[in-house]
């Protein structure tokens, strides 16, 4: 078990390093940030001075080493546009992102799971069809499109919910629902199919035979057994959720770190993009690592494979 964890941990580190190299190189191909920072009447001396200040005059591998040695200490340098430490800018926006991600996760679990159960119980009925159709839409329609449709329908047409910004719980509902829509669909489908497998098991028949009320049959015997794969998938889909939130934050004007990163891409603000991608990929890798370890713990076959 220990060896397995160490192996997976080292693999995780390699993934993070790989991601950081790719981002580091890609963003440097997109243009020269100094040209955006300085007025165009800046002299050549000014430009060279700024390059030196930013460390952009050094060879790219030195720049990378500097970045990575800072990153492991939580120092991502100064934002070119905001002229503030990147770490500060990111952490100012982390609560908003966590609020949205948490809301999305809760909504997707507490709506997706019951719908899946319901669809399994009412198999081959109109309700089942409706839930599965919804799940199909949720899994295939892009979230930014869903978001715009929600804004138009619930915000502009019905006037139920605000269309942009953060503040009250009402502000959270639309973006959280949009961000969680994909996972919700995933959980509903998965719960339904696992539930269908479980419902034909002998122990369910036994439970029913001994006269247990249907509600207890479903919640105590069936649901509990079908939760194992569902919980694993929930763990794995958190990463996907985080990735999707970048777009959702743009659509709903949500002041989180995804938006910080997207805006930074447009202003060629290297340090922010690097910082956010580094942090999110680290988070992603560690969530997956946690799920893997949990899984290995639950299922001994994995760790010896």
């Amino acid at each position: 078990m220990q060896a397995y964890i160490i192996k997976r941990f080292l693999q995780g580190i390699i993934v993070i390093l790989g991601v950081s190299v790719v981002v580091f190189v890609l963003i440097r191909l997109t243009g020269d940030p100094v040209s955006l920072m300085l007025p165009e009447d800046a002299s050549l001396q000014d430009i060279q001075r700024i390059r030196k200040v930013l460390g952009l005059d050094e060879p790219i591998h030195i720049q990378y080493l500097k970045f990575i040695s800072g990153a492991v200490r939580g120092d991502f340098g100064m934002s070119l546009h905001h002229e503030q430490p990147v770490t500060k800018l990111i952490f100012e926006r982390v609560p908003a992102t966590l609020e949205l991600a948490g809301g999305a996760l809760l909504l997707s679990i507490f709506i997706g799971l019951p719908l899946g159960v319901l669809a399994a119980l009412k198999r081959r009925t109109a309700l089942d069809g409706l839930v599965m159709l919804g799940a199909l839409v949720g899994q295939s329609a892009p979230s930014f499109w869903i978001g715009i449709i929600f804004i138009l329908f619930f915000g502009v047409q019905l006037r139920w919910l605000p269309v942009a910004g953060r503040g009250s719980i009402q502000h959270l509902i639309l973006p959280a629902f949009t961000a969680g829509f994909f996972s919700m669909a995933l959980y509903a489908r998965l719960t339904r199919s696992t539930m269908l497998d479980v419902l034909i098991q002998d122990y369910i028949k036994t439970a029913r035979a001994k006269g247990l009320k249907e509600i207890w049959v479903v919640t105590k015997h069936a649901l509990r057994n079908c939760l194992i794969p569902v919980v694993t998938v929930i763990g794995l889909s958190i990463g996907h959720l985080l990735g999707g939130i970048f777009i959702i934050e743009m659509v709903f004007a949500w002041p989180g770190m995804g938006r910080l990163a997207v805006m930074a891409i447009y202003s060629l603000d290297y340090p922010i993009v690097q910082g956010v991608v580094f942090m999110v990929s680290t988070l992603y890798v560690f969530i997956n690592l946690g799920v893997d370890i949990l899984y290995a713990y639950l299922n001994p076959q994995i760790r010896y494979a």
Partner: protein, 551 residues
């Protein structure tokens, strides 16, 4: 003087244009808007509302980056600051320069000394007095390299500020500088003692204090800035420039909504009363909607096509060829069809927003026949091939359409322009710094300053020593006029010089002249019938039919 972060405006507009399914969204918005927003109760249609609502919300595209007026030159930042701070001068909605904290100004007999007299008795929000010491302090703050002020390059040529008496300051510059007042429009005055306290200059970033019509309340980053009205603002008092203005709303909120579909939705639902930068595709729907007004406000920005003479063998060396290219393009149709009729045609180096503009100068007419004649005279009867370097992503909305349209018109007269896209940042590096990779032919360029003085355009872009002269245009006669214009402080003299200069530039045709773009707003006309924005700034201290300051 520093370009007012055009890119912030520009990339944000790009975001709005890039959103997916914008068309579907707009169709839905249009329908929803018609049915759902009724008349304000009691207000007869079209009658001006006597009083503003308690709270007004404005939606911009990109957030400000700092509360300190000296550290932020973003579109939204400057608009917010225009409410919290006052400069020695402010712009009116009709783009006049209005004495604000200054009462009057003049150049002494030695035009290198500029004297400004301040209004008496004005206090900062924290009670500190606004006096000549403050002017000195603010000027030196703008020159402090360690502090990294955004407009530092504008203040390089100022040698010192002398405090003559409590309300008189003299600014000494290295050369006569007719644009001195402009520097002090964009220097919102910050209080001196407040910024000499324990946290030093940081105090202003944490909790900004100005003399302005609004007080800062709170900034929720990337979401909104909240301000409350300063009822005691000097500008609304009797005899002051904004005396006739209706006081703005008690609570003024500047929000950030990056996507244009989101801003439109917020306007429709009333979450925002004014939105900045609606997408081009939305303009027709806004115009058709009885609840909203679309306002293309004058800006100082304009695209043009540089006709580079860097390559000594280029056909563009010949003036007749450059003129021919101006005759060849039907710019009026481009404005009407692609730009929705909003921009104003420009005959020469600057448009009507600028000091120095010559209204008598008529633009090149569309005349392909004449273009062909001129090309034939120059020896290019069969046309020629040339590289057309343009911005991608676009620098102004509409760019992805007007650039190919221009290339199409040029093809009609036999000039094959090979479109080569460049990121704005890359173009800067390659054309301005390294004179390699030539020969460049046509270069799309986007220029603008918030200063609205012709000197900033011609001295940088057309003067042979200009730092942004990417086309390497070189004409001693033009240089002489530019130098003359910037070395005298006499307004009438300058006007006469620039009249000559603009006529000469038009004839010389170093560019294909295009148009002056607009800062676009859409706003709720029932709530705000007398909205008076100043350029890109949704201002509320000058509200009302007579709210705009007169000079």
């Amino acid at each position: 003087m520093r370009e007012r972060n055009y890119w912030t405006h520009v990339f944000a507009k790009r975001l709005s244009r890039r959103q997916a399914l914008g068309t579907a969204a707009r169709a839905g918005l249009g329908l929803a808007g018609l049915s759902l927003l009724g008349c304000a109760p009691g207000a007869a249609p079209g009658a001006p509302a006597a009083q503003l609502p308690e709270q007004i919300t404005v939606a911009y595209i990109v957030d400000q980056i700092n509360n300190d007026a000296h550290l932020d030159s973003t579109i939204m930042g400057v608009a917010v600051q225009d409410h919290i701070y006052d400069g020695l001068f402010k712009r009116s909605a009709s783009l006049a320069i209005v004495p604000a904290l200054a009462e009057s100004h003049r150049w002494l007999d030695d035009p290198k000394i500029w004297e400004v007299k301040l209004r008496k008795g004005i206090k900062f929000h924290n009670g500190e007095p606004m006096n000549a010491e403050v002017v000195k302090f603010n000027t030196e703050r703008q020159q402090n390299a360690d502090f990294k002020p955004r407009y530092i390059s504008d203040f390089k040529a100022i040698k010192k500020v002398e405090v003559v008496d409590e309300y008189t300051a003299r600014v000494y510059s290295e050369a006569p500088d007719p644009t001195m007042p402009l520097k002090y429009i964009q220097t919102g005055m910050v209080p001196m003692k407040y910024n000499q306290g324990p946290t030093g200059n940081k105090a202003q970033s944490d909790n900004p204090i100005g003399t302005g019509p609004y007080r800062y309340v709170k900034w929720f980053k990337d979401d909104r800035v909240e301000m409350e009205r300063n009822d005691d603002w000097w500008g609304w008092q009797k005899g002051m420039p904004w005396e006739k203005a209706i006081k703005g709303p008690k609570k003024l909120i500047y929000r950030v909504i990056p996507q244009s579909a989101g801003r439109m939705a917020a306007l429709k639902t009333g979450e925002a009363d004014v939105i900045f930068g609606p997408a081009m595709e939305e303009i027709d729907a806004i115009k058709a909607d009885p609840n909203f007004t679309f306002l293309p406000n004058k800006s100082g920005g304009s695209p043009h096509i540089i006709l580079s003479v860097f390559d000594k063998k280029s056909p563009l060396q010949d003036k007749r060829v450059r003129q021919a290219l101006n005759y060849a393009v039907d710019m009026d149709t481009i404005i009407k069809k692609i730009m929705k009729g909003n921009p104003e045609r420009q005959a020469s180096a600057v448009g009507s927003s600028y000091f120095g503009f010559d209204k008598d100068l008529k633009p090149y007419p569309y005349d392909p026949k004449k273009a062909k004649e001129l090309l034939a005279q120059a020896g290019y009867a069969n046309g020629f091939e040339v590289v057309f370097d343009h911005n991608d992503p676009v620098c102004y909305p509409g760019g992805s359409e007007y650039v190919p349209a221009i290339a199409g018109y040029l093809a009609d007269v036999g000039v094959k322009a090979k479109l080569t896209p460049h990121a704005a940042s890359l173009q800067f590096r390659e054309t301005s710094l390294a004179k390699k990779d030539g020969p460049y032919g046509l270069i799309e360029s986007c220029r603008g300053t918030s200063t609205l003085d012709i000197d900033f355009i011609v001295n940088q872009n057309i003067h042979s020593k200009g730092t942004r002269n990417h086309g390497y245009y070189n004409n001693p006669e033009v240089d002489k006029l530019i130098d003359q214009g910037r070395s005298t402080v006499k307004v009438e003299e300058r006007k006469a010089i620039y009249k000559k200069l603009l006529t000469l530039i038009k004839d010389e045709a170093p560019w294909i002249f295009m148009f002056q773009v607009t800062y676009d707003f859409a706003y709720n006309k029932k709530k705000l019938p007398n909205f008076n924005p100043v350029m890109w700034m949704a201002t509320f201290y000058n509200y009302g039919p007579e709210g705009d300051a007169k000079v």
